[in-house]
């Protein structure tokens, strides 16, 4: 949690990351007027109008994450997504990058197991905005997947996967999902498998694109300095040129994993420990009790039991945390820490005991009050920038959350009581059926 500016920023990002995924809070007292409609092509649109800064943020998200990788083609979703702006509508990768830079626009991508998205940030002055939106439309609607570029980007992706093999945290993260999800599509890593990637052909990417990047499969989010009429025109224009395809089917339901304990050898000086269970989906009715309860367990940073037990009391780790990652289908609940090799088992036992005790006894009244104070009192910080609001719009849209979800968020947090937390944790987590992964230490057990 203590970051070193300019050189090191990872940890802070991770803690914030966990909060964002779980928090999703918006609105309540601060009236954030979200406008919602569908384009004629069936894309769902979410818009907040704000003229305070002369800029516009746009996100277009598809159900095209890595869980959609066909059997034997792990990495196809990621590669397809990565190729969108590497040549489109006859413009080369370089031409696209230069034209974006010429107007100061920033085009970015994001991909997880559920979702593949493209975001654009541009000035709202007409000349810049129009050019930037032209390019966004081009990469979404007419990606060329040039043969030579596909080959190059495949090699780069394989290189980054191989580089990750030296990073114990990355190894632990991938192994945890594999152990937790078995044969479910969530088991595979977003980046894919080098051997499978090496076999992919341009036609695979084109087919994946045509199947998944359709208007009916898209959520368009807009935030910033444009009018409703203009937002409608932009959304319609972005949706109109997308491929036509049947709706993407639902993913299978994950099944609870059997208890397991994997030790993976690695030359690191620390062990990276992850353990947990299959948790809940984004629309689970237990979401708020789990979210608020987890603040007490391991989501509240220095205000959480895990941090107190593992770090403050024993000095075992720099970071110890727990989080639910609710996804389209049941996402993981996981605890994590890193500690020097020889105290791995001690630290693991402390973390497990902390979880076990929390599930058995729940939070105290005082702890729960503290959690609720922080979450409700910190609500305005969650919507204090265009970027944050855009991310929330995209998530509300992608997970079909009710439009008033934001208005009721603080009330939902405040309504959670100790009994609800206890019951929700007991329903969700069996502490005797944990999936554990430890990377580090010499011998594989």
């Amino acid at each position: 949690m203590r970051i070193e500016a300019k050189e090191m920023r990872g940890m802070m990002i991770r803690m914030v990351f966990a909060c964002l995924l779980l928090g999703l809070p918006l609105a309540a007292q601060a009236a954030l007027a979200i406008q919602h409609w569908q384009t004629p092509q069936g894309a769902r649109v979410y818009f907040v109008e704000s003229h305070e800064l002369p800029m516009l943020d746009v996100a277009v998200d598809f159900r095209a994450g890595s869980a959609r990788d066909p059997a034997g083609k792990s990495g196809l979703a990621r590669l397809t997504h990565g190729l969108l702006d590497q040549g489109a509508g006859g413009l080369s990768d370089t031409a696209i990058a230069h034209r974006l830079a010429d107007v100061g626009a920033v085009l970015s991508g994001r991909l997880d197991r559920d979702r593949a998205g493209v975001t654009l940030r541009t000035l709202s002055s007409a000349a810049e905005k129009d050019k930037a939106l032209d390019l966004l439309a081009l990469v979404l609607q007419r990606p060329d997947f040039p043969q030579a570029v596909v080959k190059r980007e495949t090699q780069r992706l394989i290189a980054s996967i191989r580089e990750d093999e030296a990073d114990p945290g990355a190894v632990a993260g991938k192994a945890f999902y594999r152990a937790l999800y078995g044969s479910h599509p969530y088991a595979n890593d977003e980046s894919g498998d080098p051997a499978a990637l090496a076999r992919l052909a341009r036609g695979d990417l084109q087919a994946f694109y045509r199947r998944h990047y359709s208007a009916s499969n898209a959520v368009i989010s807009l935030m910033g300095d444009i009018s409703r009429a203009e937002a409608e025109a932009i959304a319609t224009r972005l949706a109109s040129g997308l491929p036509r395809a049947a709706p993407v089917p639902a993913l299978p339901k994950p099944v609870p994993a059997a208890v397991s304990d994997a030790r993976i050898a690695h030359p690191s000086t620390q062990s990276h420990v992850r353990f947990g269970v299959v948790g809940v989906a984004r629309n689970d009715p237990d979401f708020f009790p789990l979210f608020v309860g987890n603040y007490v367990l391991g989501g509240g940073g220095f205000d959480s039991r895990l941090m107190r037990e593992v770090r403050d009391k024993r000095g075992y780790a720099y970071s110890a945390y727990s989080y639910f990652m609710p996804m389209r289908e049941a996402g993981p609940f996981q605890l994590g820490l890193q500690t020097k090799l020889e105290q791995t088992d001690d630290a693991l036992n402390v973390a497990r005991d902390t979880l076990r005790q929390f599930i058995a006894e729940g939070p105290t009244e005082a702890e729960l009050t503290q959690a609720k104070s922080n979450l409700s009192g910190g609500f305005p910080l969650r919507i204090d920038s265009n970027r944050k609001i855009l991310d929330y719009l995209a998530m509300i849209g992608f997970y079909n959350l009710p439009l008033d979800y934001l208005d009721t968020w603080v009330d939902q947090v405040n309504a959670v009581d100790v009994a609800a937390v206890k019951q929700a944790f007991a329903r969700t987590i069996n502490p005797d059926a944990l999936v554990t992964v430890v990377v580090g230490a010499g011998r594989a057990r």
Binding site: G104, A166, E342, G377, G442
Partner: protein, 453 residues
């Protein structure tokens, strides 16, 4: 170090938002800077101490950062753990960061809760208690942090070792986190000494940004910090680095799957912000080399020649100490680090010989101007930039007029800066020689062997 460009960007993103700025110094020497920004009913409050690893001595490297950890461990009035708890109860987020140049502490909260943050910060500025018992636990945490971020990250090790090579005498040669041996031998008294030496109002700057009234912020600052006495600060010696007179090379062997190359040239930084031109030219140069997905390094090395899978350039003009212009890259499969270095040198020589095009210059300037608008979306970042400049001895005006100065850079100035500063005499090069992940494993797996640390 994954993206050097991100470092450059941190500098490029600054800019002169036109919001009202208040800059006052209290009688005890504490500086207070307030930026009013009413977009959201929130504020960020940061206390910056001009005490970073640059101020450390051999034998106690890392103590600035260790003290940062200890600052959360209680005072006479606020027991251990209470600081974080009280901020959290008020809905706040808080953290701290240590760099080569400073240590800073922040709280983000609703706008009406500033007083709590000031009260707590003022208390720990003067009344910190460092117990032997809590220090003994926390130093273990810091060692775990070092293992996590440096020892088990081959590229971080490369960066650490290259800095220790490129600088022979200047304190920038020491890692912020500290050498492991120094951490193992650090005592609570080392932390107390550091606190006594640097933690006083006359070595601190308070930056508050958000939906606040400057007058009210200054009044609160006087109420809480104004009563604290100034401390006699030790003299700071410049410790100027002797001019490098020939290329330095190191090889770092560490478990990794891919090689990695890091090149660093000594370079100037902003001192006289209104007259200096080279630091602005070097910022533009970093943008030309790797400021967008098809800037020179990406286009030539990654896309066309396909000799690298990643390549980027970075330069930070705003520092207390000397500057570095850096390039890092990862070779593509089947390409050697030597080939990669040669290709990078070819690109540098091309800039030195032929300069850059007007189109490239215009492109980088367009990005600078847009980024100046985008950065106004983050209150935290705006406050961060102000603190960064002030700590480096630059006035807020230097930040406000930064875009204007960058827009004035010419193609000739970029070429001249490249010629003058990217010379072999000033270059240090580090190569990561990847060691198999399995080899070290066998050694570590010997039964009964325990690590000393």
């Amino acid at each position: 170090m994954r993206s050097l460009w991100a470092i450059g960007l941190a500098v490029l993103l600054t800019g002169g938002a036109q919001a009202t700025l208040t800059d006052v110094t209290l009688e005890n020497g504490m500086r207070v800077i307030v930026k009013e920004d009413r977009r959201a009913p929130v504020m960020v409050s940061q206390v910056w101490y001009r005490a970073g690893s640059i101020d450390e001595f051999n034998g106690t490297t890392g103590v600035a950062h260790v003290l940062e950890h200890m600052m959360f461990k209680g005072t006479k009035a606020v027991p251990p753990g209470e600081f974080s708890k009280r901020i959290a109860a008020a809905g706040g987020r808080e953290n701290a960061f240590t760099s080569r140049d400073y240590t800073a502490y922040f709280q983000q909260m609703q706008k009406d809760r500033l007083e709590l943050s000031m009260q707590l910060e003022a208390d720990r500025m003067a009344h910190l208690v460092i117990s032997d018992e809590l220090f003994a636990k926390e130093i273990q945490v810091v060692m775990e942090e070092r293992r996590l971020r440096t020892d088990d990250q081959a590229q971080s090790v490369v960066y650490e070792r290259l800095m220790a090579t490129a600088y022979q005498t200047h304190p920038y040669r020491r890692p912020i986190i500290g050498w492991m041996d120094d951490l193992q031998n650090m005592t609570a008294q080392d932390a107390r000494d550091w606190y006594a030496r640097w933690y006083g109002p006359n070595n601190a700057t308070l930056v508050v940004a958000g939906d606040v009234q400057a007058d009210a912020v200054v009044a609160l600052a006087k109420q809480y910090f104004g009563a604290l006495p100034a401390r006699a600060l030790p003299e700071r010696k410049p410790q100027a680095e002797p001019e490098q007179i020939g290329t330095k090379r190191i090889v770092v062997k560490a478990p990794a799957q891919l090689p990695y190359l890091l090149m660093a040239w000594h370079a100037p930084t902003l001192r006289d912000w209104a007259r200096d031109s080279e630091p602005y030219a070097l910022q533009i140069l970093a943008g030309v080399l790797s400021g967008n997905d098809s800037a020179r390094l990406q286009k030539r090395l990654v896309k066309t020649q396909q000799i690298a899978v990643n390549a980027s350039a970075g330069y930070d003009a705003v520092t207390r100490g000397p500057g570095m212009f850096m390039i890092d890259a990862t070779p593509a499969q089947g390409k050697s680090v030597a080939e990669l270095e040669k290709a990078i040198r070819t690109e540098i020589a091309r800039v030195q010989r032929e300069g850059i095009s007007e189109a490239e210059l215009t492109r980088v300037k367009a990005q600078v101007i847009a980024a100046d608008v985008y950065q106004r979306d983050s209150l935290f970042y705006q406050a961060m930039q102000l603190g960064d400049y002030v700590i480096a001895g630059l006035p807020p005006e230097a930040l406000e007029r930064r875009v204007e100065k960058l827009r004035a850079v010419t193609v000739a100035e970029v070429q001249a800066a490249a010629k003058k500063w990217l010379q072999d005499e000033r270059l240090s090069v580090a190569e990561l020689d990847p060691q198999p992940l399995q080899a070290k494993l066998r050694a570590a797996a010997v039964p009964g062997v325990r690590h000393a640390n």
